[in-house]
């Protein structure tokens, strides 16, 4: 590699990161410009090699798009509000039960569907119910954020970093179920109790009389706006999840399953207008962001810099597997708390690949990948800007006169994150030494 080219690519990558951190421009605009500039520089040095096409991980893009279509159809049907209202009725208006119910519901939904969509649909309902019960919405809102981020860690399709890691490292849906789901369930339960104990005295009803009457007045069935869409969406979700489980056996990639499910979902929609709406709601800007990052990181990787980072990490950890796992877990968590975890994961995948290529014995039970996944996903809970779900929930809260800022978020978010990371560390320690 030409040394000037290497320096130019590193400089562009660093510039992109600085812009992403300061947030003064839209992340997609930053990444696209970074990618285009990097391709430009590469072509000046090496001519039109069309290398950049091979850097784009189309499997990740297809998986994201397919799942976004399915979630779009379910969101349109009113299914999420139905679930929320059902949870409310099952809780009989008891704030504690409602808190745990919504926490587990959000975590479960986020494990299979996009976190942002989940909180976008659950947060208004939480605000509405807390207004009726006349209780402080804060623990519920923070619960939504953390449940969605922890729940998202549980499966291959739960969170963008997991999708990238799954396709980038060639890990299957089943492997995520085996190694990440159990610990994520434990993390979800522990986090729910942790937040509950922090806010313990906020769950008392001021006017307990008549609450049960009010709750009885809800008619969850009426929340379903389009019964056909809901049934079709759910059938396809189930179909896709079943296929995910067997994708390894039948030798089909998860991306193709999601693509099949997504297009089948659109086909079942029937009316042209809803198809247009659902396709418009696919987050194309996010997909462009991914595409651009893959290109930037692809060029960076081709210069051998990421390989050097991997070498350095081995050196720092003294070649000790446990130390390396902890460095990846905690390092990823701290960085993801402040920087978007998507570019971070994209950069780390080639680094971890290089580590494994050097010494496959470091990666027993794929422990390095799980450390990256948990660090990147769970670290997002650390600050109010750590993950997209945090930004969405605090944005909605602000519009309704509730201030979730850096400070009051950190008071709960930071201890919960550290607590969850400690549990995850213990788990990864056993996995690494097993």
């Amino acid at each position: 590699m030409h040394i000037t080219f290497t320096v130019a690519v590193i400089a562009l990558f660093a510039l992109v990161y600085v812009f992403l951190m300061t947030d003064i421009r839209h992340r997609t605009a930053v990444a696209m410009l970074g990618a285009a500039a990097t391709i430009f520089v590469a072509e000046v040095f090496y001519g039109n090699t069309e290398d950049f096409w091979s850097f784009i991980d189309f499997e990740t893009l297809a998986l994201l798009m397919g799942m976004m279509i399915i979630v779009g159809i379910l969101a349109h049907s009113g299914f999420f509000e139905y679930l929320g209202v059902r949870t409310l009725q099952l809780s009989k208006g008891d704030p504690v039960k409602f808190f745990f119910g919504m926490f587990f519901l959000t975590a479960f939904t986020s494990a299979f569907l996009d976190n942002v969509t989940t909180v976008l649909l659950m947060t208004p309902l939480v605000l509405y119910v807390t207004a009726i019960l006349e209780i402080d919405p804060m623990p519920f809102l923070l619960g939504e954020i953390m449940a969605s981020n922890i729940g998202g860690t549980a499966t291959l399709i739960g969170d963008p970093p997991n999708i990238m890691i799954g396709t980038g490292a060639g890990l299957s849906f089943i492997q995520f179920i085996k190694y990440e789901t159990p610990i994520s369930i434990l993390n979800v339960i522990m986090a729910a109790f942790f937040i509950y104990f922090i806010f313990k005295d906020k769950f008392t009803l001021k006017h307990p009389d008549g609450v049960e009457e009010k709750i009885k007045g809800f008619e969850p069935d009426k929340a379903i706006k389009n019964r056909y869409l809901m049934r079709a969406g759910l059938a396809i979700l189930l179909f896709v999840i079943v296929l995910f489980f067997v994708s390894d056996i039948i030798g089909v990639s998860e991306a193709v399953v999601a693509l099949l499910g997504g297009s089948l979902a659109l086909f079942l929609v029937i009316d042209h207008e809803t198809v247009e709406k659902v396709v418009m709601q696919v987050e194309w800007t996010t997909l462009l962001f991914f595409m651009s990052l893959f290109i930037i990181v692809g060029y960076l990787d081709s210069t051998g810099v990421l390989d050097m980072v991997a070498q350095w990490m081995v050196k720092v950890s003294g070649g000790d597997k446990v130390v390396l796992v902890m460095v990846i877990l905690w390092g990823s968590a701290v960085i993801s708390a402040f920087v978007d975890n998507i570019p971070f994961t994209a950069t780390m995948i080639p680094v971890i690949s290089s580590l494994i290529a050097r010494d496959p014995s470091l990666n027993t039970h794929n422990v390095l990948w799980w450390a990256l996944s948990m660090g990147a996903c769970l670290g997002g809970n650390g600050t109010v800007i750590g993950a997209s779900a945090n930004v969405v929930v605090s944005g909605i809260a602000k519009k309704n006169g509730i201030d979730i800022n850096f400070k009051n978020y950190a008071k709960v978010g930071a201890p919960v994150t550290i607590f969850i990371l400690i549990i995850s560390s213990v788990y990864l320690y056993f996995l690494a030494t097993l």
Partner: protein
């Protein structure tokens, strides 16, 4: 056709010293969808309507829900309205486009559709209220114009 041939020379307006409660009274008793908001010199400084008030009293989180039909009646609107009823009317005002007498009917109608307004204030060059124009007034004026032209043609024959 020009605005000056169509508009209603009605100077019903809400002044900025009124409360939300008074605005609702005026809108209801005059059966108007919306009324210009003016300062003491009768300069147009905004627009108050049934929509602009509704927009404020429906909480943001309710607007975000796919449906509200499963809600029991727990008096959300009453609670929200009670909190702003006696506040100055500026809390529920919206910005409004305005037209002048020499503007065309097409300009007025397009502005109304674009900004979802039923009523547009008509102002002079110093932004002082001269009257209002509505979609219905424009449509009816055009029908009359077409009829008049036809009648004239027949008379000429």
């Amino acid at each position: 056709m020009l605005v000056k041939d169509i508009y209603i020379r009605d100077l019903t307006a809400i002044t900025d010293d009124m409360t939300v409660r008074e605005a609702i009274e005026i809108l209801y008793t005059h059966r108007l969808p919306g009324v210009p908001l003016v300062d003491e010199d009768f300069r147009v400084i905004g627009y108050v309507s049934g929509s602009s008030i509704s927009d404020v009293i429906i909480p943001d989180y309710v607007k975000r829900l796919v449906s509200t039909s499963y809600f029991p009646d727990i008096g959300i609107l009453a609670k929200e309205l009670a909190s702003i009823m006696d506040s100055p009317v500026s809390e529920v005002k919206k910005w409004t486009p305005v037209v002048e007498e020499e503007d065309t009917d097409l300009t007025a109608l397009k502005l109304m559709l674009e900004h979802h307004r039923n009523v547009l204030p008509v102002v002079d060059e110093e932004n002082r209220l001269r009257g209002v124009i509505t979609k219905e007034a424009i449509l009816s004026a055009i029908v009359h114009m077409i009829d008049n032209e036809k009648n004239q043609e027949e008379e000429e024959k």
